[in-house]
């Protein structure tokens, strides 16, 4: 096992509120700074558990970040870490999005947008970018400015959806994505977010002949392919994923249908 599998203490260097429930915590970590989009880290909050987290981009060289929504006990604790606080990180783990395309449609729900931000930094210089983003309310819209900044000189078109219709389309990111998909201007689709949303998107993309890739979430204990908690069909989301291609996902018995609880029992979505 490489050194990177041992939780290493990292001091949180800055904390930024993204929305009323979402914060970004930055820290120095050479390996995570170089993470590929779709890769994740296991993030330990001493005394409050360890969670898989997508590696968020930072504008400062040598830094990486996590963007976390406060929810249950561990995410709440991570959200509550202040500047100067210590977290333990191991990783990066998993595979990543294949960014080779000249026009990319990115479809993200909530903190599922995190790997898509890193993906923007990896898309080719001349690529055309479409971004469909879903959130619960207008307040919770995430990374809109950040996406534009990361796109730099590239064309980027953003469509927003909110569950309550308080901004943009009323619905999920898929509803926003449909507007962009129907333009026929995107050769590849990339998605991360709630699994039913991703399953719908993969279906919509396939119907239009657009190859899709989705970054999948599961319960992750080891992150390295030994515990089995993250299994989806005969795959391990932590090593075979988190990113899977639309063809496989379309044939999957589990994707969009069931995940495994901490005990390993199958649970329908």
């Amino acid at each position: 096992m490489p050194k990177s599998d041992i939780p290493s203490a990292r001091t949180v260097l800055s904390v930024a509120d993204e929305t009323p429930t979402v914060r970004t915590l930055e820290f120095e970590d050479a390996a995570l700074a170089r993470a590929e989009p779709g890769q994740f880290a296991m993030v330990w909050v001493p005394g409050a558990g360890e969670l898989p987290m997508s590696v968020m981009v930072s504008d400062i060289a040598g830094r990486a970040a996590f963007t976390v929504r406060t929810h249950g006990p561990s995410s709440r604790a991570l959200y509550g870490v202040r500047e100067g606080g210590i977290i333990g990180v191991r990783g990066p783990y998993g595979n990543s999005f294949d960014a080779k395309t000249d026009s990319a449609l990115l479809v993200g729900g909530g903190t599922g947008l995190v790997p898509l931000m890193r993906l923007i930094t990896r898309l080719p210089a001349g690529a055309r970018i479409g971004l469909a983003m879903g959130s619960r309310t207008a307040d919770e819209v995430l990374f809109e400015g950040r996406a534009r900044a990361l796109a730099e000189k590239r064309e980027i078109r953003i469509e927003v959806a909110t569950d309550d219709g308080s901004r943009g389309v009323a619905g999920t990111a898929v509803d926003a994505a449909r507007l962009l998909l129907d333009s026929g201007r995107y050769a590849a689709a990339y998605t991360c977010g709630p699994e039913p949303m991703m399953a719908a998107l993969v279906g919509e993309a396939a119907a239009r002949g657009v190859p899709a890739q989705a970054s999948v979430e599961r319960v992750m204990k080891c992150g390295v392919g030994i515990c089995g908690s993250c299994c989806m069909d005969d795959r391990l989301v932590c090593c075979d994923g988190t990113v899977f291609g639309g063809d496989y996902l379309a044939s999957s018995a589990d994707f969009g249908r069931a995940w495994r609880s901490k005990s390993g029992a199958a649970v329908p979505f």
Binding site: M1, A9, M42, W44, V224, G225, C227, G228, C231, D234
Partner: protein
Amino acid sequence: MAASLEARVGPLALPSPAMLASGILGISTRVFGRLLDAGAGAVVTKSLSVEAWEGYANPTVIGAPGGGWLNAVGLSNPGAAEFARMLRAEPAVPAIVSLVGSEPGDFARMVAEFGGCNVIAYELNLSCPHVARVGLEVGDDISLVESIVRATRAASGVPVMAKVGLGTANYLDTVGAAAAGGADAITAINTVRAMAIDAEAARPTLSNAFGGLSGAPIKPVALRCVYEIASRHDIPVIGCGGVSTWEDAVEFVLAGACAVQVGSALAGGNMGVFGEINAGILRYMERKGHKSVQEMVGLAKK
């Protein structure tokens, strides 16, 4: 006659001596299929209990500073009945079912759940070092071991293996009790009780504080246990602990193991390890003129 990889574990014949260890990728019957295709001689399931268990909170698995892994997953499993349902749906996947419990009745009851499943053997986990009232606490209770093995043996139509580890009793006494209870084979060893402390956080890293050490660091200890068991007891032994190369597998066989289990070496999605081990053992056998795995068992003790 060319060299054959077939391994015999007591009455059981396996296509290769390298099997999957319990608790490693052990909750998905679909993953089992992939591992068997990759060359695993058999797969052992996650240890199953009467009820479903969530296990401990994360961190449950972390790298150990001297190599290998520390884990305190806490025997999370969906329970024997639920697992049997999954297994029944995959009749083409033969499985060695690992069981964990506190008393003979637990084990007999669980065996009864597996009617209609393709179970080729049971492995009794008497050695998990980080969960109370089961595992090592049972293995350290010599008289309980014998009655548990006896009860499982009586309930089961297939071979029963007892998995031992290093606890507070002499593990060789545990082996003796398991043999007396009718065990068909011994698996040795489980992880070794251990812990990690994070200096910056000034606290144990695993949420359970104590966990089990696995992988390369424990190989010399596991090899010693296999050698000792094979020297003192006349029962087939399955070596487990730090096997990651064909050399490791051969060393365990030379020490007295009729087969080995591979756990931590799977880390990083390394399912190809089974194919590499199988190919390496075959090359070794051909080089050394051995025709069967069986004839190599215990050669280092001669």
